[in-house]
Amino acid sequence: MNLGLPPMHRPRSLERELATGANPYLPARARVMRIQELVADARLFELRFSDPELARSFTWRPGQFVELSVVGVGEGPFSLPSSPTRSGVVQLAIRRAGVLTNFLFDHLREGDEVGLRGPLGHGFPVERFVDQDVLLVAGGLGMVPVRGLLQYLIDLREHFGRVILLYGSRSPEQVLFRDELETYGRRRDAEILLTVDSTNGRPWEGRVGVVTELVDDIELDVARTVAAACGPPVLYRFLLKRLAALGFGKNRIYLSLERRMECGVGKCGHCAVGYTFTCLHGPVFSYWDAINLPELIDQ
């Protein structure tokens, strides 16, 4: 079955080039089409490659990431928050956190050009999700890569079973893509369960509590369910135990992990754990692979 995704290569095998050019460190130019406020200190940037051929052909797997560059300021890795089924523009959901992101928030205007390299890393092995129920779990900013996967599953709805999203945020005003997610829920595209740590006095119809508790609120046919999660280390600590206790095989749970990805192509070493480069071998790992790498996840 053709799912319209670029192939996954085994690392350290095939010599290949990034879509953005033969020099993997040289970014391709992209123009900022739109900047949209998501929540306080997080914005959605819509970019379009300046080379029309690249703008048309650029595609990716949900879970892959790009490096965004402003030479003279810096470069940083950002997950792709949208589905390749909705290509043409490249979206990035970015939180203000350091020198580069301060520049993006304070100085970047619609019409300006930045650099992009990618797509980088291994995304989710979506082929293994076909005809399965898919449980998505996101915590905080972990919603960014999970949204790309969610959109993809919804756009190719007939290939997958149930699609369930459990998403936890700190408070109602921190929920990313809230309108969009509630629309998916209303249209029954997916089962959407949102929770917040505290309502902060805001109106809120979802749950209150940590996201891992939501796992107990849904009926799952574990034998035909795969799980995909992204969130802070504390989310994995509780979630993975819970899923294992429910009977999930460790190779049917996929995690998107954060590390200091700098070059993005498995050379500079900063994201390496042993000889596994989170950027090249990941950032998506099965729980089995992650558990066998010391310190990749807290256990």
Binding site: R12, L14, L26, V70, V71, G72, C263, G269, G274
Partner: protein
């Protein structure tokens, strides 16, 4: 492969002939007992191929300690910089361990998305090896890197009243054909002398590292207090990484240049540095010194073995030479195994 011989008194002429293939780098004695790789244009007699180890290995010929990767004029589009391009170079006096280290760097930099800065210098590098004799800090024999079967263009080994010359590539063959008068056919006597040298040399290795099942031993010992002890002893100065022929981590930082342009600059880095694994927001995945020391040893002797079936340490002894607090890699592994 082809084996020839050369008369020892022709060495200087041979070195001068190499200049036709690029700038010739060779070990030179910088001060008493301290050797560096330097360009020997003009005075080939400075070459000391018998020197065991240069302070910094050949990797500096391929990737400079600091170079500009990208540059842009004020408000302009970034373009690739030629700052690291060294042109044609000849590395003379590479030992077997260096050649194995070069092959390990190739595995990293020429696979997947090849590194164009490395590749351009690598493709124009001519490697002329030289047979060495171990001291008490060499343990390449334990790691199967004390001899090289490939990975060089020519390999010279001193034998009785001559030098054995192995031609390992088409470029090596070009050098030989352009300088026919320097070489003669190898004799049976040469072969005998070489094999005698090989077995005497094997016995000369005093330092030995037991690598039997080492990856699994390390797996069993990953929570051992030895790593905390080492973390207290290690200053995390990064000297061992800088002198290691297979350490190749780099950091990238942006700079604004004097003419208001911008540059993206790449520098050698070390996994022992505190901020090496720090991510946006300030969380470090390896904040503890002990964790960083363990990661370095596991990278070389456990994880690399799982990926490529061999360690990424070649036993050159440079880290032993250069550790300011006397951490000795072989003793570390003896201690981990519980035999030292």
């Amino acid at each position: 492969m082809q084996t020839l011989r050369m008369k020892p008194d022709l060495m200087a002429e041979f070195l001068e002939a190499l200049a036709a293939w690029g700038r010739v780098w060779a070990p030179v004695e910088r001060e008493d007992g301290l050797f560096s790789l330097a360009v020997i244009d003009g005075d080939v007699t400075r070459a000391r191929p018998d020197a065991l180890r240069t302070a910094v290995p050949f990797k500096k010929l391929l990737l400079k300690p600091r170079f500009t990767m990208l540059q842009s004029a004020a408000g302009g589009t970034p373009v690739e910089s030629a700052d690291n391009d060294a042109g044609a170079q000849v590395l003379f006096g590479a030992h077997a361990c260096d050649i194995h280290a070069l092959k390990i760097l190739d595995l990293l930099f020429l696979a997947d998305y090849p590194d164009p800065y490395y590749r351009r210098n690598r493709e124009r590098l001519v490697v002329v090896g030289y047979g060495c004799w171990p001291d008490d800090r060499c343990f390449c024999d334990s790691l199967n890197t004390s001899t090289a079967d490939d990975g060089f263009d020519l390999f010279l080994t001193p034998i009785e009243d001559g030098i054995q010359v192995v031609v390992g590539s088409s470029v090596g063959d070009d050098i030989v054909r352009a300088n026919r008068h320097l070489f003669e056919p190898a004799t049976r006597r040469d072969a005998r002398h070489y094999l005698e040298r090989l077995s005497t040399r094997k016995e000369a290795f005093k330092l030995k590292l037991d690598v039997t099942a080492l990856p699994f031993v390390l797996e069993l010992k990953k929570d051992d207090p030895v790593w905390d002890e080492l973390g207290r002893k290690c200053l995390c100065c990064g000297s061992c990484s800088m002198v290691c022929p297979t350490c190749s981590c780099f950091n990238v930082a942006d700079e604004v240049t004097a003419d208001s342009g911008a540059a993206r600059v790449r520098t050698w880095d070390s996994c022992l540095f505190r901020d090496y694994a720090t991510v946006a927001g300030g969380h470090s995945f390896r904040g503890d010194r002990g964790d960083r020391v363990r990661n370095r040893y596991y990278h070389k002797q456990e994880a690399f073995v799982r990926e490529f079936g061999m360690p990424s340490c070649v036993g050159c002894g440079r880290c032993i030479d250069n550790c300011p607090t006397g951490i000795h890699v072989v003793e570390v592994f003896q201690h981990v195994r519980g035999t030292g």
